[in-house]
């Protein structure tokens, strides 16, 4: 070829080849995994044996440190069974998974955080129903409340993995103590506290819904939490499945209730500015004014524990902590909004099912919990293995008998709404659009 025949290019090519050879010469030996199968610590894994040397590909949205922790959590399982779990996390998970599946290149297992997305893959026949062992294990360890989210048309597709509790309000125990404020346990107390903080010259609430290409989601959590508090759980289910239209007066009621805080210039946006600053404040930094005393309260999920600046002590007697977002009518029970991801499989090879079953087991839940920063609704999870106080509180709430648990509504809806117009609608709503117009817009976008 003429291009590579030009001296300069030829030189470059030669350079690269030389580099290749040089590097090859420097190579050192690859260290092999020690085969621990048969040893005492592997006794618990006998049920999963017989797949030595097989590879299982997992795809998820979990990256960075949390991905490292995942790898660590199933390390022993890999060593004992000989199954090689190849996990890959991507920030583009939702979009990429669709492309990979349509392109005939699906992973063996995906951790899908949206039951709506899971349903789409199940409906199009791309997902494989979970095996009998997995199903038995899941039914043993998770409540029916959870399993229904991964059951489509009577077929069960996989157990939940991690979970989180979204009905939390973050506050600073230190500031509360100094100012003599008390943690509210009812809605009225919450509003009274807000007024009290506002009177002291501080804006009581801070919020932020900017989250790059997912901007808007924190506001949808607000609406969902208030749907659960102003309506019954049954109405909530109708809403997420389009049993009632999106612009139903009941939804408008929830939105307006959220508006009494979020669109109240007296209440928001502590540390950032006015109501509109909510739209451009990133959710990661939205709660930080609590640590500097510029804001009193921040409603956000349990995983927000990881977002505080370095050196912030997250504990009931520390710098920040969270309390349960109180119900409006305590007689209706204790509504809890949460999320989580489901272990769904695109392949039904025995080793894939073995991994699915293992991930649903109590052993796995405890193994992962010990590493830290993790919550699960797995009934076998031992509270003693959960090191972090907020996670502990979350697990307590999830396993509480009085809890009426509902999954994050936007994750249940079709993606065009739940990851599209609902998010965008909330941005417009914060930005000044009125409730009726916003709800009408979302309703008209619901896929027919």
């Amino acid at each position: 070829m003429a291009v590579s025949a030009r001296p300069r290019q030829a030189l470059a090519v030669a350079g690269v080849l030389g580099l290749a050879l040089g590097v090859a010469a420097c190579g050192t030996g690859d260290d092999k995994k020690s085969d621990k199968a048969g040893s005492a610590e592997c006794a618990g894994y006998s049920a999963y044996e017989g797949h030595d040397g097989k590879k299982v590909k997992i795809y998820s949205s979990i990256r960075d440190i949390e991905a490292d922790r995942l790898d660590q959590s199933w390390k022993q399982f890999e060593d004992c069974t000989g199954i090689d779990i190849d996990h890959e996390g991507s920030g583009e998970f939702e979009a990429q998974l669709g492309v990979q599946v349509d392109g005939g290149n699906a992973p063996d297992i995906a951790f899908i955080p949206q039951p709506g997305l899971l349903k789409r893959f199940a409906d199009s026949g791309k997902l494989k129903p979970a095996g009998a062992d997995t199903k038995a294990m899941a039914e043993q360890n998770y409540s029916a409340d959870w399993l229904k989210y991964s059951t489509v048309n009577g077929q069960f597709y996989g157990a939940p993995l991690g979970s989180n509790v979204k009905s939390f309000v973050w506050y600073s125990p230190k500031t509360f103590k100094e100012k003599g404020w008390t943690v509210p346990t009812t809605w009225d107390e919450l509003i009274k506290l807000s007024d009290q903080i506002a009177a002291s010259g501080t804006k009581p609430w801070c919020a932020g819904i900017e989250s790059q290409d997912a901007t808007g989601w924190p506001a949808t959590d607000w609406i969902e939490d208030l749907m659960l508090r102003t309506q019954t759980p049954e109405v909530y289910d109708q809403w997420t499945t389009h049993g009632i239209p999106f612009n139903d007066p009941k939804v408008a009621e929830a939105l307006d209730k959220a508006g009494t805080i979020l669109k109240n210039e007296k209440y928001v946006n502590g540390g950032f500015g006015g109501v509109k600053s909510i739209a451009t404040t990133s959710f990661q930094e939205a709660g930080t004014p609590i640590t500097t005393g510029k804001c009193g309260l921040h409603r956000q999920a349990s995983f927000y524990a990881n977002q505080w600046p370095k050196g912030t002590k997250v504990a009931e007697d520390g710098d920040v902590f969270a309390f349960y977002f109180p119900a409006i009518d305590p007689a209706k029970g204790k509504p809890v909004l949460g999320g989580g991801e489901f272990v769904a499989a695109f392949a039904d090879r025995p080793e894939v099912q073995a991994v699915q079953t293992y991930l649903a087991s109590g052993e796995y839940a405890n193994s992962r919990a010990k590493i830290g920063d993790w919550v699960s609704a797995n009934k076998k999870l031992d509270l003693a293995n959960v090191p972090n106080p907020v996670d502990k509180l979350s697990v307590q709430i999830l396993l509480d008998q009085k809890t009426v648990f509902r999954f994050d509504g936007s994750d249940l809806m079709p993606a065009a709404v739940g990851a599209g117009t609902f998010w965008k609608g909330m941005v417009d709503w914060i930005n000044g659009k009125d409730t009726a117009t916003v709800l009408q817009g979302i309703e008209s976008s619901w896929p027919k």
Binding site: M1, V23, G271, S277
Partner: protein
């Protein structure tokens, strides 16, 4: 840092295979092309001999070998284009007449959706604004700068600085502009440069990306920032190519700089100018990352490519996403017509 060279070995081996494949494919093709013509040459010679034997005058007949050559010259490119772009384009067009899951035919429903949904009409208008402003601004800036820098010292340094944004990945560009447009409440320390400037002149900080249509213009600034370097480098090269004697003659003739620009510079760099405008226009039609990282299409800033990606990949609405893509194909038609006219002129000239 743990870095095991042995693990990198297969990659470099693969790179080597790639280079060997490159040499084999391209070299093989050229070799083949050398073999074919000698065969044709022999045949033609035989024909000529036969023709002269018949006593007929040796006419310059259209060379038969031509299309054979063309076939081999074009083969790799055409094959790859068919697989990589033509087939997907046809598929997209078909999908645009189907529903979200690509299961049923729905006729023109996706197209009526596109023109009746307010938010999508907005997207189409935004795209038009982009494609009118970006080529204009980027090319104008690039041209002015190229003329100015032509006479300046430190030319290559200045040019490198202008070109630098092109070398930055979108991940980096997103953060760069975050530090420009970021907003902090009044009375707080600003981390965005623009607000800092406003505040230091006694103004109130503003949430730049929130208000339409200003936000679209601010996003366009980012695109111009990136593309102007391209325009400048290309046009600067074209300006330098203007024969010195023409310029000198004109100067001796006492033409004003203004006349010089319109009567000498502009006609000379017209081909380069066309390449720049066409290239930037197409890049702008397909602009995606800037809007996605800037506002994700919120606050009325979305453009077609962005909305198409969301509809197809995030919302599972393949039909609607494809319809938007088809509309993109339609938008390029003016450029295509312009190219056809150009080509005609060239052939005639």
């Amino acid at each position: 840092m743990e870095f095991d060279f042995a693990e990198e070995q297969p990659k470099l081996l693969m790179l080597m295979y790639g280079l060997i494949a490159f040499v084999a494919v391209v070299g093989g093709l050229l070799l083949l092309l050398d073999a074919v013509p000698s065969w044709f040459a022999r045949r033609r010679e035989a024909q000529l001999v036969a023709a002269s034997a018949n006593g007929a005058p040796p006419i310059r007949r259209p060379k038969r070998g031509e299309s054979g050559f063309a076939f081999f010259f074009m083969l790799p490119a055409v094959l790859l284009l068919l697989i990589g772009l033509v087939f997907p384009a046809i598929r997209t067009t078909l999908l645009s007449f189907m529903d979200g899951g690509s299961d049923n035919w729905v006729g023109l429903r996706n197209y009526t959706w596109m023109f009746s949904e307010d938010s999508i009409v907005r997207v189409l208008i935004n795209t038009l604004v982009w494609v009118l402003l970006v080529p204009l601004l980027a090319t104008t800036f690039g041209l002015l700068y190229a003329i100015m820098v032509d006479k300046a010292r430190f030319e290559s340094v200045a040019k490198s600085l202008i070109f630098m944004p092109m070398a930055i990945s979108f991940v980096g560009a997103a953060i760069i502009w975050k530090f420009v447009y970021a907003y902090r409440g009044e009375g707080q320390e600003q981390i965005g440069l623009l607000n800092q400037i406003v505040v230091s002149f006694g103004g109130e900080p503003k949430q730049w990306l929130l208000d339409s249509p200003l936000n679209t213009l601010l996003l366009i600034v980012i695109m111009v920032w990136i593309q102007a370097g391209f325009a400048m480098v290309v046009l600067s090269a074209a300006i330098k190519a203007i024969p010195a004697d023409i310029v000198e003659a004109a100067r001796l003739d006492g033409v004003t700089p203004w006349q010089m620009f319109w009567q000498i510079t502009m006609p000379s760099i017209r081909p380069a100018l066309i390449v720049v405008v066409v290239t930037i226009s197409i890049a702008t039609l397909k602009v995606f990352d800037i809007v996605r990282t800037g506002t994700n299409g919120n606050y009325d800033t979305s453009v077609i490519a962005n909305e198409m990606y969301n509809q197809s990949f995030r919302y599972g609405q393949n039909g609607q996403g494809s319809a938007l893509a088809v509309f993109l194909f339609v938008l390029v038609i003016p450029l295509v017509i312009y190219q056809i006219r150009n080509l005609r002129q060239q052939r005639e000239g």
